[in-house]
Amino acid sequence: MQFSGRRKKLSPSCQADLYEQALQFYGQPPLENISLSEFESFAVDRMKLLKTVENLGVSFVKLSDTYKNKLEAESKNLKLSPRQDNGLSEHEKRRKDHISHFILRLAYCQTEDLRRWFIQQEIDLFRYRFGELNSKQKLEFLHKNNLQYDTISVEEKQALSKEIVNSSYAVSGVKVEDQDVYKVPFQDALDLVRTRKVYLKAGYAYIPHQDIVTIVLNDFRTRLSKALALTARSLPAVHSDERLQPLLNHLSHAYVGQDYSIQKNVGKISLEQIDSLSGKSFPLCMRQLHQSLRENHHLRHGGRMQYGLFLKGIGLSLEQALQFWRSEFIRGKVDADKFDKAYAYGIRHMFGKEGKRADYTPYSCMKVILSNPPSQGDHHGCPFRHSDPELLKQKLQFYKVSPSGISQVLELVKGMHYQLACQKYFELTHNVEDANFSLNHPNQYFIESQRALGGGKESKREADAPQRSQESSAARGSTAAQEAAAADASQNLAEMTEDLDSFFNDS
């Protein structure tokens, strides 16, 4: 730990005004050198915070009271809350916020997936924090960051008042009168457009002041993704540095989750076993896909991807996968020739044997639940999220889940705790009291199920063992294993701090 001696007090005052406000756009990198111990704890704490942001977003309605309370508690706990409390001084907390953000940029700039994850969590965090500002502080923030948007005239506002009220939740007619309405190209308010929470006319979005956070976030997103791209480009030195590269990987990996694309059990499962495994050890989403594949001898693209990657993850080899899909498809409308022409490519692609050799990782619950919802003719998605509760109920009855169990599951679904509902289903069907793991991946469900059923028989036990600790580190909640992984990460961090400050300056 000799690095701590390197700490140079580099004119801390020159950035003092950066910390005048509770919130910032992270436009300027930190210029000071920091001590090793700070570096470690900053990085790990922010990772924890972002992970909390992610988990809360899945378990609760974003910006609901519970969500806000929990996020506030965790921010305080990690001393990353911009609010007043008795811990660090305001200045110190803001400094920690600033520096930790920049450290994580380094770890998360390297691949598309990591960038997306990082941006998403940072944006959610920003949205929450912006919402906590009072209106005076919000105006100050806009002013300080030079954010100016066009407002519409009083007459125009009157003329459009009814439409504006009907387009945005929680605004009433009177309130529209009292606030500015901004007019921006719809491209600058995509979050509102997507959810249809804004009035659109001739390509412009009309945004009441209370929703201005959307435009601000849009700005933030644009800046952040540009900055990450730049950081990635200015990091060739990191890529060639044997100490830094594995560490940055570790930093990002431990928190994005287990990588189920690494095939561990290839060939340990035979095709004949799949039917029985699907009943015993597949999560509902995969069981549903398997069943409709058997019934229709076909799955549309979304289903092929979700199910195909899952099968790859449980250990099907490419040859097995090809055989599996072909034998099912040719029982339907597709003949062998057509299969080889139209579908085989896609399957080889999944295994990285064709095309760009993109690495296709089996989908996590988050991905299944949040992206590409099923539409007409689709069977993919998460049954807890995408099925009508009535149908889900019937299905659970059919699978012989007890009435009290069913109502517990449905209760969780109602509260939008889809993964918890799935976990409850696991407990009910495996006769365990407390699943003792935090579900976040269909492949994890499979592994846990095999383990619970005395797995040794159907998939090799020793192969799962090393996955266990990593898996849990990615799990929700603050478990002991997560602490361990964090400690692990910080140990690696200790070996790298040396040259990092120089990278910030380039970004």
Binding site: Q187, L190, V193, R196, K341, P373, P374, S375, G377, S387
Partner: protein, 424 residues
């Protein structure tokens, strides 16, 4: 349903004729060149061809209209797809450093396919269509066309019949072509109201306040609903279809309606009873109070394939491509004549090739002289005369008008550019 006069076995004989004498190359080039406003816009555009026996060739690109013409006449593709404008020439995509070959721009496109409505039409299923269910496409065009123009401010919308069971929309405005993936998916999601797959019964759920976009869309749907849904599809006739509708109403109302329907058989009156229940509900409770609107939307609202619209590099079947199964040409639809558009009267390749062989009448000769006199190229002239003699003529004429309107807008662009240049 293949047209009576078309036999797919004759395609290899007809395609050469079609590409030699009928395909409107010059308009096609004029379209994709977009006035030459941006450099290499046509040259960096991906085309893909489906050849005989489903052989699929991607990343075709052409430097001139002539080259495109020659190649199509040589390959005689069964189907043509149009992709994105890339950073480099697509046919050289293997030679550029990986990662630098990127899709930059494309029209914003929409794909509406009748198979996505199978749970709400009783007349046909899968790839089949009839004049009854075609109303769904008419509604789709009405609703989307309004929203894309009025809400999003786009002007140059080319609607195209896919040749079999659906329609495509190409939004050609410069702003639309430059949209990011995120923006495309936001637009598509804004326009999507029917949600959920095979595991969802109730696919439309409205909450207060009802967004102006939904109000506008509803008022369009309402115009078609009585004739289309109540009469033609008879959704309140047979018990089975009635049950389907009733599965979409709140439980407490369901019982009442079941009873009321026993004394009343007429679909229109049944619908009126249902609507009365809905308006009563509106005054009392909050939950499920818009159920009659939700039913109309679930049965009639356009169902988009969001994934097609999202991707910049997604390929979509080109206008004037032939549909190999039906032989029909993918023709642009003039929405001024939307209500009378009949997919079954869209010409097949065999029909127009046959028309070409008919001896010309005098009247036709006179008419063909009126064709743009100043068109210099003789071969070009002959080709124009050729298609003028076929039933393809009116569609080509409409395409021409569409391009004229667009040309007016990019002329503005060019002027701006040359003004800028003068300043330097």
């Amino acid at each position: 349903m293949p047209a009576a006069d078309y036999d797919s076995a004759s395609l290899p004989d007809l395609l050469p004729l079609y590409y030699r004498r009928l395909f409107p190359f010059s308009l096609y080039y004029r379209w994709l060149n977009y006035g030459g406003v941006q450099k290499n816009y046509f040259q960096n555009r991906e085309f893909s061809f489906t050849l005989k026996d489903d052989i699929y060739v991607r990343y075709q690109s052409f430097s001139t209209q002539n080259e495109l013409e020659k190649e199509m006449q040589k390959m005689n593709p069964y189907k043509i797809d149009i992709g994105a404008v890339y950073s480099h020439r697509p046919n050289q995509h293997n030679t550029v450093k990986s990662g630098t070959f990127q899709a930059l721009e494309k029209e914003l496109v929409f794909d509406i396919d009748m198979t996505d409505y199978d749970d709400v039409r009783s007349c046909c299923s899968q790839a089949d269509i009839c004049s009854k269910c075609w109303t769904l496409m008419t509604i789709a065009i009405r609703v989307l066309d309004r929203a894309l123009r009025e809400d999003f401010g786009f002007q140059h919308l080319l609607w195209v019949y896919s040749g079999r069971r659906g329609v495509h929309c190409w939004v050609c405005d410069e702003g639309a072509r430059k949209l990011s993936v995120a923006a495309r998916s936001a637009v598509a999601e804004y326009l999507s109201l029917v949600k959920g797959g095979e595991e969802t019964v109730k696919k439309v759920i409205l909450t207060d306040p009802i967004h102006p976009f939904i109000r506008e869309s509803l008022s369009l749907v309402e115009k078609y609903f009585p004739k289309y849904a109540l009469q033609e599809q008879d959704i309140l006739g047979q018990k089975e279809s009635v049950d389907k509708v009733l599965s979409l109403v709140p439980e407490d109302v369901r019982k009442t309606l079941q009873q009321d329907f026993q004394n009343e058989r007429k679909p229109e009156t049944r619908w009126k009873i249902l609507k009365d229940q809905a308006s009563r509900k509106q005054n009392t409770t909050k939950k499920g109070k818009h159920f009659e609107k939700e039913i109309m939307l679930q049965y009639c609202y356009p169902r988009l394939d969001v994934n097609v619209s999202k991707g910049v590099n997604h390929l979509l079947k080109s206008p004037f491509s032939v549909h190999p199964k039906t032989g029909r040409i993918s023709v642009p639809i003039d929405i001024k004549e939307l209500e009378t558009f009949d997919p079954f009267s869209v010409p097949t390749i065999s029909l127009i090739c046959e028309e070409l062989d008919r001896p010309r009448t005098e009247e036709e000769d006179v008419k063909s002289e009126e064709v743009k006199e100043n068109e210099v190229d003789a071969a070009e002239n002959r080709k124009i005369r050729d298609y003028k003699r076929t039933s393809l003529a009116k569609y080509v004429r409409y395409f021409d008008q569409f391009l004229d309107a667009m040309a007016r807008s990019w002329k503005g662009e060019l002027l701006k550019k040359s003004d800028l240049q003068k300043e330097f």
